[in-house]
Symmetry: C2
Subunit: 269 residues, 2 copies
């Protein structure tokens, strides 16, 4: 039974949209400049979910971060450019006072019964209960909405040094816990701090330019995760000319590959 | 000295656009249904390159394949949605007779002098001269525009069986050779046949739904490759519900990571 008197989870407040797709930034999900990119991406997935014309589940989304949002209201538009028999192609925009801050393309579609296999394996990790919770600096507000337990590659401390491998592996879930759905999975794809921080052993100005998520989990697999931790892993590939790319995976405790994700990141060293 | 009397390279004919961004499909780059997806993506990158308002080089593009093109003319639109100090965000559409068949978002930008490193390594491979050229079936027209020398994971033959790893690694270049540029690099990102063919040991209906390319190579690195082979490698991650994702890398012979690429693919088994 749903307790209608309980306040909504902060995540649901942050990605909540009116029927006309108007939303509002929340201080709980603030980043250094503007909101956490993952919550913006999640808001666009939520916009898809509540669209009356939507066919099927999210299969892919690419979010482009044009400019930081300012605190306050924003408007989302979502347009189905093409509806095929089993899938649908979308273009989305998020704007504030008529200025577009974020664009996205997305694909939704029906999942059909086919041959299935996962070709890669999750990273080795102890149970989340056996890994310490990471504390984050006070000024990174959004991170307080996640319980993160790093197996390797935690954010650099003041004593950190350069290192040759940017891989991070962590157990992560919403805090307080909340059942996993496609918007929450989207946001989790952006919890991997810029890989250049780990390589250089320090934070620096950096921001996601474009992020892509491929959704592999169906509704039953998301329900099976429920409020449990997921195992995230990510690493960078090439850093050059003020940008780098990073790729990540999100796994269930049971070894289901829930999503794969990629992003191009701007940095200033 | 450029020989002005020589006919253009087939690739340049295929990605060529009028000043009003009108182009035409070419039988040389035909696939099973419609043109090779790589040539369509390359055409969109060419549209960016010839746009008078463009700032900097291509950094990222995501191409969404909504519907197959039919043989004949098409129109491209390219709109700079946001121009920042060092980068620019684009939305592109390709249409035929008013029907949108392809959408894309792209980021162009200036490369700045920063700390740089490549964190991953190219796959082990003998020199391209020591690897046999792959022959393709006659009906795959587009493949005749590429010289492919497979180190591992060639397209399945009639005797092929299922296998647990979809990795392909190959030396590849345009045929006849042509100096590498951003459009050509984009097309090369789509030469990896659907990974499900290797897993299942046979071809089946399959088509790219969305492809992302992150461009790492700057103009000097592209010039250094020139008409030489590049080393491509790709593998799939999860196959389920009629879709799978694959990721790839393109390396120069000298070990420069030129591009990383990802795609979501529809399949019907």
């Amino acid at each position: 039974m749903t307790d209608l008197s309980a306040p909504p989870h902060p995540f649901d407040s942050a990605v909540g949209l009116s029927p006309a797709l108007r939303g509002r930034t929340r201080p709980e999900y603030a980043n250094m400049v503007g909101p956490f990119g993952g919550i913006t991406a999640a808001t666009l997935v939520r916009a898809l979910e509540q669209h009356p014309d939507r066919l099927g589940d999210p299969l892919a989304i690419t979010v482009n971060y044009l400019a930081p949002l300012v605190d306050g209201e924003f408007d989302v538009t979502a347009r189905a450019v093409r509806t095929n028999r089993t899938n649908q192609h979308w273009l989305l925009e998020l704007s504030q006072d008529g200025t577009v801050t974020t664009t996205a393309s997305a694909v939704t579609g029906l999942r059909r019964d086919t041959w299935a296999d996962t070709e890669i394996s999750p990273p080795t990790a102890p149970d989340p209960e056996d890994v310490a919770v990471q504390e984050f600096p006070e000024f990174i507000a959004w991170a307080r909405n996640y319980e993160m337990r790093f197996v390797r590659g935690a954010i650099p401390t003041e004593e950190a040094v350069e290192q040759p491998d940017s891989t991070s592996t962590l157990w992560v879930r919403d805090a307080p816990p909340r059942p996993l759905d496609h918007p929450a999975l989207t946001a989790l794809c952006d919890v991997f701090t810029p890989r250049v921080f780990l390589r250089r052993g320090r934070a620096m100005p950096a921001s996601t330019v474009s992020m892509t998520v491929y959704f592999h989990a169906d509704a039953a697999e998301l329900a099976e995760v429920g409020e449990d931790f997921v195992l995230g892993t990510a690493r960078g590939h090439r850093y050059t000319g003020g940008h780098f790319d990073q790729s990540g995976q999100l796994w269930s405790r049971g070894g289901t590959l829930l999503a794969t994700t990629h992003q191009l990141v701007y940095f200033k060293d």
